[in-house]
């Protein structure tokens, strides 16, 4: 077998991917030992979470040749983690997850750092994965080209929240009885004492009350296990789904950093509930996205005051936004409520918006207010791109006076 003249790394499979050209590589791909060594020496990967996906990810990334891994996790290890978070042992229960995970990975592949520093916000490609039972997803977010997190937020199933009146008056399911005991009865009986989901006595109390309520309304199905599940919002989890999704994320990370192959485009779903289903969908950016979208374009004169601007929003056909509050970068230019903030920002209303925004010819603002749809009023947040006309013709009021 022909031997490569390049010094072979410990990971021959990685050599095959990174040392030679291919048909499906990214345009920027430059095969060679330099790429492989740079990947190992310079690429820094942050793994957020050292749980079900985190343990798998750390293993996969380490075996894929990344040498600079950092992992963050606020949690400590529990017994119920051990069925899938394989970096942890029974004797580790109670210890911080990030520390134990980093230590185990370093023991196995001995060239890593373990750190718990939080990281500053930067624009970087992001690989995201999630699992629940037999289902999971992995996807790639490249700012500017793929849809951002906000664009696809509609993919998340709605949070289960029961209306208080259902819990208080007309429960129909076991979960309603449990949430009644947890959210309503607890405070009535233990006023002042905070409910602690990790205290078995508290949980038992909620369970007993839930059973009583269920009996009262003739509802079946309240068990201790369900009580825990509802109160703690437990996500059922198994090792194999996590293995699959984490590995898919690792593959994409490797491709993104090295360019050795085309990345997933751009959302992979895995469903093992009935049979086996894996699909890759190419989602497109939402042009109205609040985060990555360009925003509704508005052309303004530099003399327009903030008050005039707010009035304009009410009339603008694409917006029809009344009682608007305006935010530019990190500053609230005007807030309709609460009263204290309204008073503090009221003086801005008479000033030209152009000045308030630092006299830049073009920038983004976010506005919140109420719109009317089908006769119903709803609050909404919109992203606007403001362009100022005649920026050169500004007469500075101060300069107009003196010579």
């Amino acid at each position: 077998m022909a031997e490569s003249t390049v010094h072979q790394s410990r990971s021959r499979d990685l050599d095959k991917l990174l040392l030679r050209p291919g048909n499906l590589v990214a345009p920027t791909f430059e095969p060679g030992a330099q790429l492989r060594d740079d990947l190992q020496e310079y690429a820094r990967i942050l793994v957020v979470g050292a749980g079900g996906l985190g343990c798998e990810l750390l293993k996969d990334l380490a075996l894929s040749g990344f040498k600079n891994l950092e992992v963050i996790d606020m949690d400590r290890i529990e017994v119920t983690n051990l069925n899938r978070q394989f970096l942890f042992r029974l004797e580790d229960v109670g210890k911080p997850k990030a520390e134990v995970a980093a230590r185990r990975v370093m023991e196995r592949v001995s060239e890593y750092d373990s750190d718990d520093k939080p990281i500053e916000e930067t624009v970087k490609p992001m690989v995201d994965g999630g699992t629940e039972g037999f289902k999971g997803h992995a996807r790639v977010i490249i700012p500017g080209s793929t849809p951002c997190f906000e664009c696809t937020i509609w993919l998340f199933p709605p949070q289960v929240k029961f209306p208080l009146c259902t819990l208080a008056e007309t429960p129909r399911t076991a979960a309603h009885c449990i949430e009644y005991a947890h959210l309503i009865k607890w405070d009535e009986v233990h006023s002042g004492k905070t409910f602690d989901p990790d205290d078995p006595e508290h949980m038992k109390w909620v369970y007993t009350e839930a059973v009583k309520r269920a009996e009262l309304f003739g509802i079946q199905g309240v068990t201790y296990s369900l009580t825990q599940g509802v109160v703690k919002n437990i996500i059922p989890a198994i090792a194999s789904t996590n293995a699959i999704v984490s590995a898919a994320c690792t593959l994409e990370t490797l491709k993104l950093v090295s360019g050795c192959s085309k990345t997933l485009s751009n959302y992979l779903t895995y469903n093992g509930v009935e049979g086996l289903h894996i699909k890759v969908t190419e989602f497109v950016k939402d042009k109205d996205c609040l985060v990555c979208g360009p925003g509704v374009l508005l052309e303004l004169d530099t003399s327009v005051t903030l008050q005039k601007f707010i009035d304009m929003l009410e009339e603008h056909p694409k917006l029809l936004l009344s009682k608007a509050s305006v935010r530019h970068q990190a500053t609230n230019l005007y807030m309709q409520a609460p009263q204290v903030l309204e008073e503090m920002t009221r003086s801005n209303l008479n000033l030209p918006l152009f000045e308030l925004m630092g006299k830049v010819p073009r920038d983004i603002v976010h506005v919140t207010g109420t719109t009317s749809r089908d006769g119903k009023k709803a609050s909404c947040l919109r992203k606007l791109c403001l362009v100022f006309k005649g920026a050169d013709a500004v007469t500075d009021q101060d300069m107009a006076v003196g010579a």
Binding site: M1, A2, R10, S11, R12, D13, K16, L17, N23, L24, E56, K59, D60, L63, S64, V79, T80, N81, L82, N83, R84, F86, R89, L90, E107, R108, V109, G133, F134, S225, G229, I234, I235, P236, A237, I238, A239, S240, N242, A243, I244, S246, A247, A248, T250, L251, L254, S261, K262, L264, L268, Y270, G272, V273, E274, G275, L276, I278, K279, V280
Partner: protein, 323 residues
């Protein structure tokens, strides 16, 4: 596990997965016995998943000594090379797997798998083999089928950054759930020999190219008397020639098996860790389904290629129903 019920320790440890498949399935898992051959990357991932899931016992067969390849790509290998000396791959993996879940009996069986008789396989409910020659796959499959009880049989092979799983559950009955209805289903699986004997021209046009490519590589290694994976770029011309012959014999257009794909399989004989994790994860889930009787098992081939991230199931079985 002692007795019929799950112990308190098991209930705590397996809480999150019992919420997925139920206590009944968990009990069945804890009584199952799995045999595994070929401790390479994909198999070790598979072992991790089923050990964490809490099977009854796992028996490993692989008498090879530790290699540099194993040290770099197998996460069950201890980091200290001194610990490795004198132990076989199976023994080292057993030691690591025991740590993942002390409640599972992980043991090693030494010897040549092909020399074990039918009565040996009777001890197991599931047999999974990896990186075996065509002859070995057929042989072990046949031994499993000779028993009066069902022994589920799986092969798994990963090369370059893609892989294949084959499943044989013989005659499999299970309850299929659709919304509120439950219907009894029966699936008839062909043996490996029967499956690969299905004429290529009778298969649907869209069948994964990887299926055909793997069969060409399989035949080549057998014809040349090679061990699985004992192939390199110099063999490519001969492999392409074999492809042409097989396609002609099967009346299949040569373009069905891209040369670029064959080149990948010929040069990338080693497994790639993230691909091992994906395929080992899917295999783990399939075995758990077969043992627990819950969920639709895949029939009968699965392919994954990381180049496009797609996972494809192909049903390669004789279209003519048996009377």
């Amino acid at each position: 596990m002692v007795g019929e019920e799950l112990t308190e320790q098991e209930t705590a440890l397996y809480d999150r997965q019992i919420r997925v498949w139920g206590a009944d399935a968990q009990r069945r898992l804890s009584k199952s016995h799995i045999l595994v051959y070929g401790m390479k990357g994909t198999i070790t991932e598979f072992c991790k998943n089923i050990v964490l899931a809490g099977v009854g016992s796992l028996t490993l067969v692989d008498d090879r000594a530790v290699t540099e390849e194993a040290l770099s790509a197998n996460f069950l290998m201890p980091p200290d090379e001194n610990v490795c000396s004198g132990k076989t791959l199976a023994e080292l993996c057993r030691d690591s797997l025991n740590e993942f879940n002390p409640m599972v009996r992980v043991s090693v069986e030494k010897g040549d798998l092909t020399s074990f008789g039918v009565e040996f396989f009777d001890k197991f409910d599931v047999v999974v083999i990896s990186f075996c020659s065509l002859a070995t796959k057929k042989l072990i499959n046949e031994r499993c089928r000779k028993l009066s009880k069902r022994v589920s049989f799986y092969t798994v092979d990963c090369r370059d950054c893609c892989g294949e799983i084959f499943v044989d559950l013989q005659k499999y009955n299970y309850a299929m759930k659709r919304l509120d209805e439950t219907t009894e289903c029966e699936l008839q699986y062909p043996s490996f020999q029967e499956a690969i004997s299905v004429p290529w021209r009778s298969l649907p046009r869209k069948v994964s190219k990887l299926y055909f490519a793997m069969r060409v590589i399989e035949r080549f290694e057998e014809a040349e008397g090679r061990k699985p994976g004992e192939i390199c770029i110099e063999d490519l011309p001969a492999v392409l020639k074999l492809k042409k012959e097989i396609c002609e014999a099967q009346s299949l257009n040569e373009s069905h098996i891209p040369n670029a794909l064959l080149e990948r399989l010929v040069t990338g004989t080693r497994e790639f860790p993230p691909v091992c994790a994906i395929i080992g994860g899917i295999l783990g889930q399939e075995v758990i389904k077969a043992i627990s009787g819950k969920g639709d098992p895949l029939k009968n081939f699965f392919f994954f290629d990381s180049v496009d991230g797609k996972g494809i199931i192909e049903d390669i079985s004789d279209p003519t129903p048996k009377g």
